[in-house]
């Protein structure tokens, strides 16, 4: 008991010393926050990280198509969405800016999850309070606005807003981050972001039909599943309807161009936007040439307008038989 005042005095000495240190030392300016890179996330979130590694978000910077279109990123403005700073540093839906470091990881974990105060934002309502990355719940994570910072540059989010209610769903996540169960039964959202480079995703968006009516053969493309235009986002995306005919000897002619779905670049002044809005159907009769006995129509999806037919994705083919 007698030692208590001495201990208190000693403690007070310590406090005094600490106060003085704070008073006399100029603040050392050091910027460090959260995990250093997205690679750090893999230690605890290996399954999510593996999904992301296979996604086009991970590929955003090294994608050869992007490199070509951006003149190997000599067009530096493309960097803003292909190597973005954390989206949460910006107001909801506002344009994101390019980062200077670790561009090689493209749209990485930190791009979407790093919070402005250093913690990691999550859609999870009860994130672990003991995790070293200091996760916190952020409602914006599952909102359309989160994706809009990049994906509305070419109007996709505006198209979604205008889409029929039954097709737009709750948000982008419904189609592009579906629910998944990982090892141990943990429920989460898949980080593979299936979209234009995923055949299944494309087939969930459009379907083709064809046949014969009183005006001859017809072909249709219906945007029955995308909550935005088809094709959307990137102006180099295109989808082409082609037709070919068989003569009486059974020989097939070449594929002929019928229609292109695409949003042209601003300086392609002779072209108009022919994207297929959500829920709408394009239908056209295809005049059958003399001597033809049978026809075929198909829909080809191209990730850039000049992609050869044999490198494009055929999304459907219909026989046109009288």
């Amino acid at each position: 008991m007698k030692a208590a005042p001495a201990i208190l005095a000693l403690a007070a000495t310590g406090v005094g010393a600490w106060v003085l240190v704070k008073l006399v030392t100029p603040p050392v300016q050091v910027e460090v926050r959260g995990p250093m890179t997205s690679q750090d996330c893999a230690a605890c979130h290996s399954a999510v990280f593996a999904e992301w590694e296979e996604s086009h978000h991970a590929f955003a910077y090294h994608n050869p198509e992007v490199r070509k279109l951006s003149n190997d990123f000599r067009n530096e403005e493309c960097l803003a969405c292909h190597a973005p700073r954390p989206v949460l540093d910006f107001e909801p839906g506002e344009r994101v800016l390019a980062r200077s470091a670790d561009r090689g990881t493209g749209v990485d974990c930190l791009s979407c999850h790093q919070g402005p105060q250093g913690g990691m934002a999550s859609a999870n309502r009860t994130p672990s309070s003991s995790a070293p990355c200091q996760p916190y719940h952020e409602t914006r994570m599952s909102s359309v606005q989160h994706c809009a910072s990049c994906h509305n540059q070419h109007g996709t989010v505006d198209q979604w807003r205008a889409a029929p209610a039954h097709l737009k769903g709750e948000s982008c996540l419904d189609c592009h981050m579906t629910e998944t169960f990982r090892e141990g039964g943990r429920r989460g959202r898949h980080h593979g972001f299936p979209a234009a480079h995923n055949r299944e995703a494309l087939l969930r968006a459009v379907r083709v039909e064809g046949g014969f009516d009183d005006q001859g053969p017809w072909f249709s493309v219906e945007n029955y599943g995308a909550g935005h235009n088809f094709p959307t986002d990137e102006r180099s995306r295109a989808a082409d309807v082609q037709v070919r005919w068989q003569d009486a000897d059974g020989n097939w002619g070449d594929w002929q161009h019928v229609h292109r779905f695409r949003d042209p670049y601003r300086d392609e002044v002779d072209l108009v936007n022919t994207q297929l809005p959500s829920g709408e159907t394009w239908r056209e009769n295809l005049p059958m040439p003399d001597g033809a006995t049978l026809g075929e129509a198909r829909l080809l999806y191209r990730t850039q307008p000049y992609l050869p037919d044999d490198e494009s994705e055929e999304l459907g083919r219909v026989e046109l038989k009288p």
Binding site: A9, G14, E31, M36, E76, R85, A101, R103, Q153, V269
Partner: protein, 440 residues
């Protein structure tokens, strides 16, 4: 009892203060650089209010179409053409300029009308045309029109179109239209400021050599002649239109931002203090893009600052105190190529986030002098610490090392070389080539 304890506590607290006061400061505590307070303000809005009367009038589409109809009538010839010419001449010069710019900016305008509008701009345009006409260099695909707008820019003291002139002259004409553009381009060279011994138009080879020299001077110093003064500011009408162009930096769609950056980096050095002041603007996009534009402008910054005794490093340095602006400020500081920025950049290379460190390394590559070599060698020799820098920073520091020690074989670690795409490597090679030579 309570008094005694309180007294001991106070005594202990005081002795702690004294004890520590008597000690030296711990050696590991290294104070960071101190910066003056940074506050934002509505810079662009204020400038806009001040200059709106000097800017070209904003016209509705009907007025632009009226002018296009006049050009159509002039092209048709006869009495109607005479009247239309008179009508166009009688228009207020700034209104006419705005309308003609509206015509050439319309992507759907017929070629004849566009060429006529360019020619009228050349012959009668008011100085405010400069920024918007510079932007046409980015989009104009018709060769004759490109030459005409380059000619017009030159008449207003801007050499940004000289590359287009050279490109047309280098091209082998494949038809009459290209031949006409080439002939026109050849007539532009004699308008360039003369130098001793050059006789304009006498010999194409000599003309070409002169054009090459002027292009190089414009690229490096934003001047058309070595003895030309570096103006401190733009004339009021041009300044007002520069302000209008800067408004595009606020845009959420990227294209207007990119257009503004394209134009601003092609103006004379008087744009430097404008961009520096914009980094105080209340809009974060304006602040970021203003600094980024300085970084993209690069080489011509230094000659202008030297000629105008403008302390570029001091002007920008205060922004280093703001974490959100720090990376872009580092980049802008590097672009000035003043070694005075080295100490700050070195500090932020070591104490900044990965984003700041990458920007600081890029900036050091552009501006650090020979006396930075020992610090750089120390950084690179600590392999463990060096590996923690982002690949971009490591590559820049290696490039700087090879620039400061030219006798070294420029051999990058293979994994580092592969980590950066060609465009990124090329950019850093260019920065190395643009370095101000320093004595060892």
């Amino acid at each position: 009892m309570i008094r005694a304890v309180t007294a001991r506590l106070l005594l202990g607290f005081a002795s702690g203060l004294l004890l520590l006061g008597a000690c030296e400061r711990p050696p590991e505590v290294e104070p960071g650089p101190q910066y003056e307070a940074f506050t934002t303000r509505p810079v662009l809005a204020e400038w806009e209010a001040e200059t709106v009367d000097q800017a070209l009038p904003s016209l509705d589409q009907d007025r632009v179409e009226e002018v296009r109809d006049l050009l159509d009538a002039i092209g048709a010839g006869g009495r109607l053409a005479h009247a239309a010419t008179g009508q166009l001449q009688d228009m207020d010069a700034r209104e006419r300029t705005a309308a003609l710019l509206g015509v050439v900016e319309d992507l759907r305008v017929e070629l004849d009308h566009k060429r006529a509008a360019y020619a009228w701009l050349r012959d009668t345009g008011s100085p405010g045309l400069l920024p918007r006409l510079t932007l046409r260099l980015k989009y104009e695909k018709d060769l004759w029109s490109a030459v005409c707008l380059a000619d017009t820019l030159l008449r207003h003291g801007n050499g940004s179109g000289l590359d287009a002139i050279a490109a047309v002259l280098e091209r082998e004409p494949s038809d009459a239209a290209e031949e006409a553009a080439r002939s026109y381009a050849a007539t532009v060279i004699p308008q360039l400021p003369a130098t001793e011994g050059w006789e304009p138009g006498a010999d194409f080879a000599a003309d070409w050599e002169h054009l090459t020299k002027v292009r190089a001077l414009w690229a490096a110093e934003r001047r058309l002649a070595p003895d030309e003064e570096q103006p401190a500011a733009f004339e009021p009408e041009v300044h007002a239109e520069i302000v209008q162009m800067c408004k595009r930096l606020r845009s959420q769609p990227l294209r207007p931002v990119d257009d503004a950056r394209f134009v601003l980096i092609r103006q004379r050095g008087a744009v430097v203090p404008i961009l520096e002041q914009l980094s105080f603007d209340e809009d974060r996009y304006v602040r970021e893009h203003a600094l980024q534009t300085l970084s993209w402008m690069g080489v011509p910054i230094r000659p202008w600052c030297e000629a105008r005794a403008y302390d570029y490093v001091a002007a920008l340095r205060s922004k280093l105190g703001v974490a959100g602006l720090r990376p872009r400020t580092c980049e802008a500081l590097g672009a000035g190529r003043f070694a005075a920025a080295t100490e700050d950049l070195h500090y932020w290379l070591q104490h900044g986030s990965r984003e700041t460190a990458a920007a600081a390394a890029d900036a050091l590559l552009r501006c650090a002098g020979q006396d930075y070599l020992p610090s750089l060698q120390q950084l690179i020799s600590d392999a463990e610490a060096f590996a923690r820098f982002p690949a971009e920073a490591q590559y820049s520091l290696y490039t700087l090392w090879f620039a400061l020690e030219p006798e070294l074989e420029a051999e990058y670690p293979p994994e580092l070389f592969d980590a950066l795409p060609e465009g990124e490597r090329e950019r850093r090679s260019r920065w190395a080539a643009e370095r101000v030579p320093t004595e060892p």
